[in-house]
């Protein structure tokens, strides 16, 4: 059996009494590609927030690579090998697409190596390749403030890939992308899954079907059910709270 890369034990997050996460127990193996779905407000994004240290759990603990991350700051957690894409694209608007990528690709993120170590040739090729993958080669050198919403989404996915952490947390990667792009992103994630652990959150069920091996459904801050895509899709509780009656298709 694979060792666990990520585990949460009885994690509760409450905001002024409202429990966004409620006694959540979750675990993920090394190298696993896991999809998390669930109704709006189920706590998916909060879950990622907890893992990356943006939100401290009110109770319970999050264990990454065997370490409780509670006492670490955000950037330290990231340096332990977690990367994240935000739900709405967050990129550095005054940098160009390639600079954005370069910033994430940088391995050593303390001050001194940032100052004194120059980037390697191989990094440059890697970034070129990435730009190609996310379809932004032609816009690589304009300020990323001038990108459209979908392009920003893709750029942020690219940044995550450039960072290449052990665990990728991907929050709604294909929202606002065209079907074709959705397909590309799916392929990209599948390819990455060969060497990384990935946690994906998405509402686009086409996409979920495409990549999913194991799906976890969150509801009101705790796991509603877990299983492969067929099981989940046909679970009446999931249909009730999440999928709805897909009458035609």
């Amino acid at each position: 059996m694979n060792p666990k890369i990520l585990q949460t034990q009885n994690v509760t997050v409450s905001f002024d009494g409202f429990k966004a996460l409620n006694n959540l127990n979750f675990s993920m193996d090394v190298g696993e590609l896991r999809v998390v779905i669930g109704p709006n407000g189920a706590g998916k994004t909060t879950f990622i927030d907890v893992i990356t240290g943006k939100v401290k759990p009110t109770e319970g603990k999050v264990i990454f690579k065997g370490k409780n991350i509670r006492s670490f700051q955000e950037h330290e957690i990231i340096r332990m090998g977690i990367g994240r894409k935000f739900q709405t694209p967050r990129i550095y608007l005054n940098l160009t697409a390639s600079e954005n990528l370069e910033l994430s690709a940088n391995r050593n993120k303390n001050i001194f190596s940032t100052l004194f170590v120059t980037s390697k040739k191989t990094d440059k090729y890697k970034i070129q390749g990435l730009l190609e993958t996310i379809g932004l080669t032609s816009k690589a050198n304009i300020k990323s403030a001038f990108l459209s919403h979908g392009e920003k989404q893709r750029l942020e996915i690219g940044m995550l890939v450039a960072q290449s952490p052990d665990l990728l947390l991907v929050d709604e990667p294909v929202a606002g992308l065209t079907d074709e792009e959705t397909y590309n992103v799916a392929q990209l994630l599948l390819m990455l899954a060969e060497s990384h652990s990935i946690l994906v959150i998405e509402h686009d069920m086409e996409f979920v079907r495409e990549i999913a091996r194991k799906v976890t459904v969150l509801h009101e801050g705790s796991v509603l059910c877990e299983g492969n895509i067929e099981e989940v899709q046909n679970d009446p509780r999931v249909i009730e709270v999440y999928l709805g009656q897909q009458n035609n298709n």
């Binding site: 109704p39 709006n40 189920a42 459209s148 919403h149 979908g150 709604e172 074709e180 509402h203 709805g244």
Partner: protein
């Protein structure tokens, strides 16, 4: 209802929209499709008055509104749900909703939030006193739609309204929008990636590289067109 002709829009020196012609007839639902970055949002913003066209006219219910400010356009009855939600983060959900009333022509006494809104988006009811910015992404999107509906617009401009919303609610939104169009006779201009929703519209326009390249009835929207303009 809405008639756009020969519209050219620039961001600084870069030419984004090129000679766009588009019209939304009264009581109809029109959908705009196109790949990422072709200028859909730009067109929506221009209709709303957030961007100034360099040439061309925008005609809304028989008046040319080129020189009108966004708030005047809102008061004339254009309701806008922007891409990226644009919730006012440090106002409560209730306050966000009440802002929707600003677009009404006559002042509303004793403002209240109609039940119909909550029927469509039940979560909002439980969160009235929460800060708008604290909501989850999908909840914010629902709030954005609800807020615009509060204003009882005549033309609803929706920019990817279903982004980040759970499947069951998407279905409800689709049904609701369809229902609104049919019962109240307002017009809708929709930008959407979900084909399912696109097919609810009466008419479609396909956009590529800043220009309209195809249009027609959605019932005739063939796989071929989709292939050409939505995929490479």
């Amino acid at each position: 209802m809405l008639q756009i002709s020969n519209l050219n829009v620039y961001y600084g020196e870069s030419h984004i929209l090129r000679d766009v012609d588009l019209s939304v007839p009264e009581g109809q639902m029109v959908c705009l499709i196109g790949r990422n970055g072709v200028g859909k949002t730009t067109l929506m913003k221009t209709i709303m008055g957030l961007l100034k066209p360099r040439s061309g006219t925008i005609n809304f219910s028989e008046t040319i509104i080129n020189s009108k400010s966004p708030d005047q356009r809102a008061k004339m009855g254009i309701g806008y749900v922007p891409q990226g939600r644009e919730i006012i983060p440090r106002l409560t959900v209730k306050e966000n909703l009440l802002l929707g009333l600003e677009a009404r022509k006559n002042r509303v006494r004793n403002p209240d939030i109609p039940e119909s809104i909550f029927r469509l988006f039940p979560v909002l009811k439980t969160m009235l006193s929460r800060m708008g910015g604290d909501l989850s992404g999908g909840q914010q999107q629902q709030l954005a739609i609800a807020r615009t509906l509060m204003g009882k617009p005549q033309l609803l401009v929706l920019d990817e309204p279903t982004e980040g919303i759970q499947p069951s609610i998407i279905l409800e939104i689709e049904a609701a929008v369809r229902n609104i169009v049919e019962t109240t006779g307002i017009s809708v201009l929709l930008v959407e990636q979900h084909l399912h929703f696109v097919r609810q519209a009466d008419y479609y326009y396909a956009m590529q590289k800043g220009g309209i390249v195809a249009s027609g009835l959605t019932s005739e929207l063939s796989q071929d067109v989709i292939q050409r303009f939505l995929a490479v």
